[in-house]
Amino acid sequence: MPNEFGLEIINLSKSFDNHTVFDDFNLAIPKGEIIGIYGPNGCGKSTFLHLLAGIQEPDKGTIRINNKKPKEIKPGIVFQNYSDHLLPWKKTMENIFLQEKIQKNTRSEEMLDHLSDSQKNLFQNLYPYELSGGQQQLSSILRSLINTDDLILLDEPFSSLDQNIKNQAHDLILKNRQNDRTIVLVTHDLLDSVYLSDRIIVLKGTPVHNKYLNLNTKYNFKDKIDLLHSSFFSDIYKQTMEYIAS
């Protein structure tokens, strides 16, 4: 009988040469959640995303996304080095719709409602290399949200964004969450992670992950400033830091 997990990981192990990143790692996330992945540099966050995306194969174990194998889905993805993954020979708008065009031969124009007129103009007329890092990153986020029903993987998607565009990107992500879509967000900013996610998985530094801290971060604050000044966020912050340091 099919389960209700959007993401299910069973006994996952992954090593590089003699360096073990995951060892019998287990995780089950209900459908439709946004999961924040938090942890220090080099703890395997990007590897985790690559395993979910099917870009890397696990040495052992099973990954299921909406009961499908990673290779059976076509995730939307923002890579950490986002500018390398925008195709410089295509205008930015063509980049945004490219995955959808290839896979479904459609164009979800309604996604453009999230952009200002000047941004639409920029994306329509300029190549990615003519845009600022922030605009490139925003177009990568937009592209990832357009194209998939099952899984969206965001690796440091806000690293180049100024506060205004970051807020816009947050709105984009929150407005495009769906019941059967899991969004995995890797970020070094704990406030962003708590603000956007339903739960945070805190990974410790390597060598081996077979444990993690699973924090429920569903909250009811009216905005990010409220959240920042809340005891709820202080508790999450404290628990996270103590777990990493332990």
Binding site: H50, A53, G54, I55, K71, K74, P75, I77, F79, D84, H85, L87, P88, W89, L98, Q99, I102, Q103, Y127, Y129, L153
Partner: protein, 248 residues
């Protein structure tokens, strides 16, 4: 801007000044260095004396080079895509690339005689090697840098080639074409100057050398230089228009 133009003008002016100096300053080599004015004036006889040879050279060069470029790109795509195939031919390829084309002339002459076919073969071979190598490496590199995107999107081989690999490899292919065009011209002139020389500007240089007609020799050298320079400039303009993203 003005300063930049002056800097660009210094090189050609210095060469002309040097030429004037050595042409007029009395030395034992004056016979070998014609006066610049004489060479310039000799251009008015170009249609009668050198047009036929220039066309012969251009024909050999352009046809051989074009064939080499087309074959280099096609076979380069196949070998770049199937890396195991490339591994099989990598060592022989590096070996042949290390051989100066002129050393192949005698063996080509033995097999194909000294006609146009032999010259085509040499020019095509030389240009093919460089375009092939650049195409293969261009594809190899593009497969590394954008591979994650293609993997995550589950692109099939044709989609991957059409959307990513082809465009990613273009800068490297153009670099190969630029080198190949220059090397093709060198191979054309070399083959015309040696045992394959039945026509063309290379043969004319040797013919004029034998009778110490240095004025026409210099005229031919200038023509060859202008052909190479103009073609290179055209390729750069084409490259900048086609690969507008180069360097990004």
């Amino acid at each position: 801007m003005k300063r930049s133009k002056i800097l660009y003008a210094i090189g050609p002016i210095a060469i002309l000044a040097g030429w004037y100096f050595f042409a007029y300053y009395p030395t034992n080599f004056n016979i070998l260095i014609p006066k610049p004015v004489q060479v310039m004036l000799s251009f008015k006889n170009f249609p009668q004396i050198l047009m036929k040879s220039t066309i012969a050279t251009l024909y050999t060069w352009s046809t051989g080079t074009l064939l080499g470029i087309i074959l280099g790109i096609l076979i380069g795509f196949i070998c770049g895509y199937y890396q195991n195939l490339f591994k099989i031919i990598e060592i022989p390829l590096d070996f042949f690339r290390s051989i100066p084309s002129i050393t192949l002339l005698p063996i080509v002459a033995l097999f194909l005689g000294s006609g146009l076919t032999a010259k085509f073969f040499i020019v095509t071979f030389v240009t093919f090697l460089y375009v092939f190598i650049h195409t293969t490496y261009g594809i190899k590199y593009s497969r590394t840098s954008k591979q994650n995107l293609a993997l995550a999107w589950r692109l099939n081989p044709w989609q991957n080639f059409r959307e990513i690999i082809f465009y990613s490899s273009l800068p490297s292919i153009f670099a190969g074409i630029r080198t190949a065009i220059t090397l093709g011209l060198i191979a054309t002139i070399s083959s015309e100057m040696t045992i394959l020389g039945t026509a063309g500007l290379g043969k004319k240089i040797i013919d004029n050398m034998v009778i110490y007609n240095t004025t026409e020799m210099y005229e031919i050298i200038i023509i060859i230089g202008l052909i190479g320079y103009a073609t290179n400039k055209l390729i750069v303009i084409l490259e900048n228009n086609v690969i507008h993203w180069k360097g990004h």
